[in-house]
Symmetry: C2
């Protein structure tokens, strides 16, 4: 079983995706939001790439059944029900509802890796659970950090490194690690004692802080608050 | 002044390269070979992408003036004068000669970044000198690890991290660092006490060792053995 991580979020080839388990990560903030919304009782999340697609799609569902969430430039989109802060997604607001989500990086990432055998949703919030599920599936794993507008994003690779560290420890071997996954593991180990520090050091974390969204960093830096491992299949993310 | 590093060696866009200083790194072994050959008195190195191109080009120069070096599958190419081990490039053999070099990763990398304002040749052998030259040129820097057949290569990113660490220390600021360059610096710091360990841990280092070329790892892990900063311009690499 090989465990690899793609440091930069360009779409992988079909050959790379074939027969793999892919874990999509967007710590700040899309995968944290998805995990939070489903934990709070949302029935499903549909990730779409454009605001127009979200606006069109919501009209195809019964009124009141479906909510719109997401961001552009890290800010809530006009006319949407939610921005991209996990704390907005309370049980009171999302329980029993469908969520259509569009964000700059994270929601695109799902469509880039849709051809994989399994696509799991990972973040710090469900790290141990997603590492265990990846091992259970017993296929080669590709961790896919969503990055920051096409570039490398520190917090996503640190989260990927945490999953790699957990998988290597649980399987009692680091034989299946590539140069990329060994390096992500080293990067995680640097921040193991304070994951919040990685989020604060990252370019995207600094941007959020400057926009007054610093509280989201605390929220997204928490580890193992849920055992939920959402999966993306046929364009929809569900709790299992 | 921004200092960035591209972790995965896909060709950067013209927009990314424009007005930048690019440092190409292939620790194992192309840039180590280029620096060694020029240090030993070779007049210039012409990096080409294919064996056929090398064979065709050598015929256009006066007989005896030009040597052929490089590898495929890490092994010397049939009919070539040299493989890709730096130690082969002694003054006795290369002084006053032109070298045509073709390797799997490194020589391709130069052509991927040819549109940059300056293209410098970096390795552990000339780390401090190349960091200083990059600062003197006073333009944004992109470090370009050649990688391993399109994938991430540990030893090249560790070397890039060393250059980033040196530049940050010499300029007394880490303000210009991106998530990618901060992470490469952290990776370098993990191996600072033993760069040879990084070369041995890397997939490509293990392959070379298995082929009986382990001595090259010692050779390429040495730091600051020369002040030479070769530059690539109009398809040719020269000492300055």
């Amino acid at each position: 079983m090989h465990i690899d991580i793609q440091w930069v979020p360009f779409p992988p080839s079909l050959e790379i995706l074939s027969k793999k388990t892919v874990v999509v990560i967007d710590v700040l903030r899309a995968t944290s939001v998805i995990i939070e919304a489903l934990s709070q009782g949302a029935i499903e999340v549909i990730p779409v790439t454009t605001v127009e697609e979200a606006a069109r799609l919501v009209k195809t569902f019964p009124r009141g059944s479906t909510l719109l969430g997401g961001e552009r430039g890290s800010r809530k989109i006009q006319g949407f029900d939610f921005g991209n802060s996990p704390k907005e997604y309370t049980a009171e607001r999302v329980n029993g509802k469908r969520l259509i989500l569009t964000t700059t990086n994270g929601t695109k990432a799902f469509h880039s890796v849709a051809a994989a055998e399994d696509v799991l949703v990972g973040s710090l919030l469900n790290g141990t659970a997603v590492a265990e599920r990846s091992l259970q599936l017993d296929r080669d794993v590709l961790i896919f950090p969503s990055g920051d507008e096409g570039a490398f994003s520190l917090e996503d690779v640190v989260c990927g490194g945490m999953l790699i560290d957990l998988m290597a420890k649980k399987s009692h071997t680091s034989n299946g690690l590539t140069d990329a996954s060994s390096s992500a593991r080293i990067l995680y180990q640097r921040f193991e004692g304070s994951l919040l520090e990685a989020l604060r050091l990252s370019g995207h974390g600094k941007d959020l802080d400057a926009l007054g969204l610093g509280e989201d960093l605390f929220y997204c830096a928490r580890t193992d608050v849920t055992d939920l491992v959402p999966t993306f299949r046929e364009n929809v993310i569900r709790a299992s």
